[in-house]
Amino acid sequence: MFKLQHVNKLPGVFLVVGILILASLLWFTPTRAREYAQETEQYCLSCHSNPDLEMTLPSGETLSLYISQEQLKDSVHSPNGIECEACHTDITTYPHPAIEYQNVRELSRSYYAACQKCHPDNYTKTQDSMHAQVAEAGNLDAPICTDCHGSHYVQPPDQPRTLIPSTCGNCHTEEYSTYQSSIHGNALVQESNPDVPVCTTCHGVHNIQDPRTQQFRVDEPDLCASCHADQEMMNKYGLSADVYDLYSLSWHGVDVSVYDARWPTIQHNSAVCTDCHGIHDILNPDDPNSSVNPDNLLVTCQKCHPGVSPNWTGAWTGHYEISLQRTPFLYYVDWFYSFFTPMILWICGIYVALQIIRLVVDRARRSLR
């Protein structure tokens, strides 16, 4: 009897030790996808490959429970061995535990937390984003991981690159359509241009911030400069890469750089790139609809300088080198002072130096005499 009892305890000990080893493996390498490798997919699909499988939630919404096997095989997760149970951790076998979510949105917002297990960095970034703030303020439509990336059929989000603006455009429809007609959006769609900015280039990816803040505003010239001050990239399109440096020397640019360096959160009005060029609707300055086309420039200036006369636009020299053709007044003033100031310095300096020498030598001679 005693011996039998002893033998019966052995499987229990093995089970406890086994669970401990497994748990420690999971605990110490939580980001390694391979650890989630399961063989549950085929088992789950035995029911969920039925296109008619669906259920009705308490809100009255119909939740389709169908999973397309082909699309699943195409996604980034399934072929890498990350199967159903990696995310659906509460479902281990059939029958499933009862679904307690009132509606589809509540279900999505609950399940997306599963992404954190393997993608903790990006998940944490989203918690600081504008979208998370909006959700906290009560808007449950604010996007979560699965809204942009999909849930079961996750694909690389930037292949092709046009996918990025169209993903954002699902919600930001107005900005998307404006962007598409802009010089950047047009080049992306028409020419599959690899250089033009897409939404995420300027707004960031997971930690998207509010672009209406003063900080975003004063940082904006640097943002545009990340491409427009790139000599190599600008050469490809016959654009000047000096626009940023010259802007930084202009009345607006000096002002903005001081605010950027010292008071980035304090409201001020000196023009940054987008104030004149537009934001999502940036066009080629030669385009008759461009806000910086010579025909429209006065109206653009008058946004900040109300009531100025047509001569006013001539005061803007911000993106150009000083030249006789374009800025004759500035050219002559620059020419004059290029020799006048050094001349004053040298004449005064030499004359005073000669006088000091003569004075000192004379006094020395007198005292030696």
Partner: protein
Amino acid sequence: MSKSKSPPSSMTNRVKILRTFPRFSASQRWEHAILLVSIAILLLTGLPQKYASSAWAQVVISSPERLAIIQQIHHITALVLTALVLYHLGKACYLIAKRKLPGDMLPTLQDIKDAWNMLLYLVYIKKQKPAFGKYNFEQKVTYWFLFFSIGILIISGYTMWFPETITRVLPGGVIPAAIMAHSTEAIATAIFIVLWHFYHVHLERLNLSIFSGWLNEEDMRAYHSLEYDQLVRKPRSNQDSGDINS
């Protein structure tokens, strides 16, 4: 002056007589005092704005409110300087109309000769300094340099202050030109005042006649011998100090 040599042999007694000669009227001394203070304030409030991105300027311009105050001080001082310039020009016009403007300050051919002779003296080619009248060429250069540079600074300054109004009449290109002229001319003026003017009135000799209004006999003989000769030969009443009331 304690260093004075014994009086000339023509003098019979041993009492030292310190003769002084009127040089600037009260009005001229006030004009200089206001000019000095306003240029100092304009430079002190202008330079931090020109070099706003440098570290030392950021000590002064520590907040946008500070910047606004500094600009306001600059503007008010500019108005004072403008009033001073208008008074100065008005007085000159008045004196011209009454045919009483003393021509001492006007540049002449003699000044160029004096400058050349002075240069020869400084490089030991000539033994003697040229003899000067009431204003030597150095003082005329000081006056006329500041006359024109303050003119440029005032015109470009008002262009920057009221750009919207200016461009109703003038092309827009004058605005950036005025910005450049204002800040560059100010530097040239500061260099000139420190090197040229400060040397002549502080280092070469301490000349405080612009504050006191008079110059002693020794300095008159050493630096304005022509005027001195003229004054001691002629009766004092003929001398014109350039004041309205004289």
